[in-house]
Structures are given as C-alpha cells and as structure tokens.
C-alpha cells in the first residue's frame, strides 16, 4: 500500500487551473520532496491531502483512506505543518498541544508531548503563551502540533522558511529520526540543498502539472553534466579538445565532463601535447541547477 496516492487530481478556482491531472504515489518510508516555484500548486495539493480543500476531479488517499469519503481515518493518518505561521493567541504551548491531542481523540498524551517538546527545543517555553513566542518558536509549535498523534505520514509545507540555522538542524535531525522509525515524510521547500540532502524521491511541479517524479539519483543524473576546471602551468588549450571547452575562467579552462572516465582521455591528450597540469576541480551539478534548467525549459 502506498502512503499517499494522488489519482488524476485537478483543482480549478473559477477559470484558473491550480492543479492539472496530477497522479503519483508516495511510498511508505519515503522522504519525499515536492518542489516547484511559487504558484506551482504545491500548497493546493497539500490542502487537498489535508482535507482543507476539495479537489475538482480525482481521488486522493492517505494510507488507503480516501480523504473525502473516509475523511476521519485519512486525517488520523496524516500530520500537516501548514506553511503560514498561525497560532491561537489564547493559550500556552502545552495547552495548544493538549488540545491538538484531544481533537485527535487522544487522552493522557503527556509523555509524548514532553518528548516532542524536548526534541524541538520547546521545553523551556511549555508554559509560555503563544503570543509571547518568536516566529521561529511558533514554527516549532506548529511542527509539534502536527506530530501529537504520531501520524504515519508527516507533511511539512515550507517548514524552514524564515527560521534560523539552529532550528533547521534540530528540526531535520528530529524529522530524520522519525523517517528512520518508519514515518513517511513529504516536504516542500525552497532550500533545494535540504531536499538534496534529505530526500530519496523528488517530484517537480510547474503551473499545476507534474514535470518529473524520480529517485534522487535519477533526477540528479538527468541534469547538466559535470564540469571540470583545468589549470595548466603554461600553454594553450589543445585544439584536439576544443569541442569540450565551455569557457576560460580564473586562469583555467572549464570543460564539459560527460563522466569520470572521460577524464582519462583528456589527461592523456594534454600529456601528449606536452602540457603540465597545475590544478583540477570537478564540479557536480546540484539540484538547484537541475531545478532551474527544468523550470525554464
């Protein structure tokens, strides 16, 4: 069984099509990134998953439960951290988490609440009113609220937007440990290096359409090939290798590198031309390059 199934999901707001026939699955245990520029439809898709929004067409299931016909089971199976920073100003952090547990039908959830507070660095703020917390602290409480019922599927919509490095690290360490404990994680983020480091599968959305859905390795290999910056002690770039040359920079020659085996041939040609190597730097394409390349295609 897949953790999440989107089956031909579309969403129209009047004439505007926010999502156009989206179908894909997130498997149990995945650490899944949902990427795309602003307005791509990521949050709309998550809202449909959460039951905050209704799809115009198609079906969405969480752990096998349909989000509209089986809404109570589906909502029990998922914990969502919404993108917008929202809070109820009447209550303290602990009250907020107790209420959230209660809404999910859980009594006596104190031990797990203490665990979450500890893991998110909130213990010292447990009895502080939500109003008095900084933005980053409020964000932590929102993450905690999504976790009170130990959902098998956890969805984080831009959880690290505008939060400091410390929280990012604490948060990812905690989320990673939850993933290792078997929870399925879906995240949207604008920090592509986060997606690159954390996730095993990546989907890219653009203007409401699914552009790509692949394992991270596949998506990384589909991007621009590696490049190498070769610096020589003296002399010019040999004519035999002219076709590889991208540009000259930093007193060196930047070349395309299809794969590491190609390097052998290049070095041999340089040797034969009587040139001596001073330095070589190999740069791998990162997710950001691939992202930009795909979105502008």
């Amino acid at each position: 069984m897949s953790a999440i199934t989107f089956d031909h999901v579309s969403k129209q707001f009047g004439d505007f099509t926010a999502l156009n026939d989206i179908s894909f699955r997130v498997e149990e245990g995945d650490f899944f990134a949902l990427l795309g520029p602003n307005g791509a439809g990521k949050t709309t898709l998550i809202s449909i998953l959460a039951g905050l929004s209704k799809a115009s067409q198609g079906h969405t299931r969480v752990m096998g439960y349909d989000v509209s016909s089986d809404y109570r089971q589906a909502r029990r199976a998922v914990g969502i951290v919404p993108q917008e920073l929202v809070f109820d100003p009447f209550f303290t952090v602990r009250e907020t988490l107790r209420f959230q547990s209660g809404y999910f039908g859980l009594k006596n959830n104190g031990a797990w609440i203490d665990d979450i507070l500890e893991n998110l660095g909130l213990t010292s703020k447990a009895d502080a009113n939500m109003r008095t917390l900084s933005g980053g602290m409020k964000r932590r409480v929102m993450v905690a609220q999504a976790l009170v019922h130990k959902p098998p599927v956890i969805v984080l919509d831009e959880p690290t937007a505008g939060v400091d490095v410390e929280l990012r690290q604490t948060l990812w360490a905690f989320i990673r440990s939850l993933n290792q404990a078997g929870h399925t994680i879906v995240l949207t983020t604008h920090y592509l290096e986060e997606a690159q480091t954390l996730c095993n599968r990546i989907a890219m959305l653009k203007q409401g359409r699914l552009l790509a859905l692949e394992n991270k390795e596949q998506i990384m290999s589909r991007g621009a090939a590696r490049t190498a910056l070769i610096k020589l002690t003296t002399g010019q770039w040999p004519a035999a290798l002219q076709s590889l040359l991208l540009r000259e920079r930093d007193n060196g020659f930047e070349i395309k590198l299809a794969d590491c085996n190609a390097l052998e041939h290049i070095l041999m040609t340089l040797r034969q031309a009587g040139l001596t190597l001073k330095d070589i730097e190999i740069a791998q394409a990162d997710l950001e390059d691939i992202f930009v390349q795909m979105m502008s295609a």
């Binding site: 209704k54 969502i80 919404p82 109820d88 009447f90 039908g105």
Partner: protein, 251 residues
C-alpha cells in the same frame, strides 16, 4: 467523544480567559439598563398585573444578555480563527461534523447561561422576580441561547471579515432583541407593531422565558415553545449543512 469534549472545553476556556470582556462586561451593561430604566419608568408602567416594572424588566434583560453573548461566542470564535488562520488546527483533525457543530454550540450556550446567571444574581440588588415555573425558565434559556449560538455559527462561517459580522450583529441581532419586548409588553404597542412583533422569534423567547417567572405572558407559552423549538431546528439544520459542505471553510 474526546474530540468533542476537547473542542468544547477549549471554547469554554477561550471566553473564560477573557472573562472581563465576555462575562463581566455584559453583566455590567445589563445592570446599567436596569438602573436607568427602572428609575425612569418604574412609576409609570406596569406591563403585567401585580408585577413591578423592575421585576418585569429583569427576565427581559437576562434573556437579552444571554442571547447576545451566545451569539457573540460562536461568531467571534469562528471569524477570529478564520481571519487569523488558526482554524486550520480544528480542520485538520478527524472531528466529525456533529462534534464540530455541537462543541461550538454548547460552549456558546454555557457562556449565555453564565452571563444570564450573573445578571440575575446582581439584579437581586434591585428586585426579585418570582420563580413560578422554573422548568419553563430553564427550557427557554437553553433554547434561546441555542438559537443564537447556532445563528452566530452561521454568521461566523458566512462572514469573511469583522465588518460583515458587525453588520449582522448591529442590523439584525440588535433590532430583533431590542424590539422583542425586553423593555415593554407588546400589548402596550399600537396594533400594527403588535402584529409585526409576532414575526420576531426573539419575542417568543422572551415572552416564554418571562412566563416561567410570572406565570403571565403576551401569548400562550406553548406557542412560544413551538416557535422557538422550530426556529432552532431550522437554524441547526442550516448550520449543520454549512459545516458538512465546508462552505467558506474548506475551499
């Protein structure tokens, strides 16, 4: 049940934490009305035989305060959480439509009753109305608060900004409560306005409620009970279907 109970408790705590505004202030307002009106009118008006004007006024003011506060509780809680976005925290959990509906409604009824009780206790300084039929008093208090709680829920769901809610409150709820016989018996009105009053459901809430105190009323209490009960059913069905459809809450 835990989901319902938690939301109910949260709604109670929400108004209790700002009790000065939600409980003490309306009690004070009712007392001001009582003070001024009973001073000015006590010697001139006697709407019911054998009942002083001040005693007559107390149940009216109680009911008016209860109704306004029951309405205010659901409507302000819902609009506030909609505008700030924190409603998401009750929309994400697996609360059933009925749990959602009943938790908000019952918490608003509790606020209405607390305010009503507060008004009645402080009104003892002035006069003590008799308590002829306590069961009628309780039934009309519950039903009246229930109607306004549900109406507040509908208004809160419908309104997109505070301004729209204020319009609902000032142009519908206020006239309906003021022109319902809080301060007078409708028999003192000209025939045309007496007729008009019969189309105001709030009139029946107050008239029935007052019957519980004095055993006298403008219309038969059973008629009042039917009108009030029927109104509650209609409004509850409307509110429930709004919640079920996700109108303006789940887009």
């Amino acid at each position: 049940m835990t989901g319902f109970y938690t939301l109910f408790y949260k709604e109670i705590l929400r108004f209790w934490k700002v009790g000065f505004q939600t409980v003490a202030a309306p009690i004070l307002t009712a007392l001001m009305y009582l003070l001024v009106f009973s001073q000015v009118l006590a010697d001139r008006v006697q709407p019911l035989a054998g009942v002083s004007y001040t005693a007559f006024l107390i149940p009216g003011l109680m009911m008016m305060s209860m109704l306004q506060n029951a309405f205010a509780n659901t409507s302000s809680s819902i609009i506030q959480s909609k505008v700030t976005g924190s409603m998401v925290f009750v929309l994400l959990p697996p609360l059933s439509h009925f749990e959602f509906f009943s938790a908000y409604t019952l918490a608003a009824i509790v606020r209405g009753l607390v305010v009503g009780l507060g008004v009645s206790l402080t009104a003892l300084i002035f006069d003590m109305p008799s308590l002829k039929y306590p069961l009628w008093i309780l039934i009309f208090a519950l039903l009246g608060c229930g109607i306004m709680a549900v109406l507040g829920m509908i208004a809160g769901i419908w309104a997109e900004k505070f301004d729209q809610l204020a319009a609902f409150q000032n142009f519908l709820i206020m006239p309906l409560t003021f022109l319902s016989g809080v301060f007078y018996s409708i028999h003192s009105l000209p025939p045309f306005w007496q007729q008009v009053s019969h189309f105001n459901p709030v009139f029946y809430m107050i008239d029935g409620f007052r019957y519980g105190f004095f055993g006298q009323s403008d219309v038969n209490p059973w008629l009042s009970l039917s009108v009030v009960g029927f109104s509650l059913l209609i409004l509850a069905a409307m509110a429930f279907s709004l919640i079920k459809s996700g109108y303006k809450i789940r887009r």
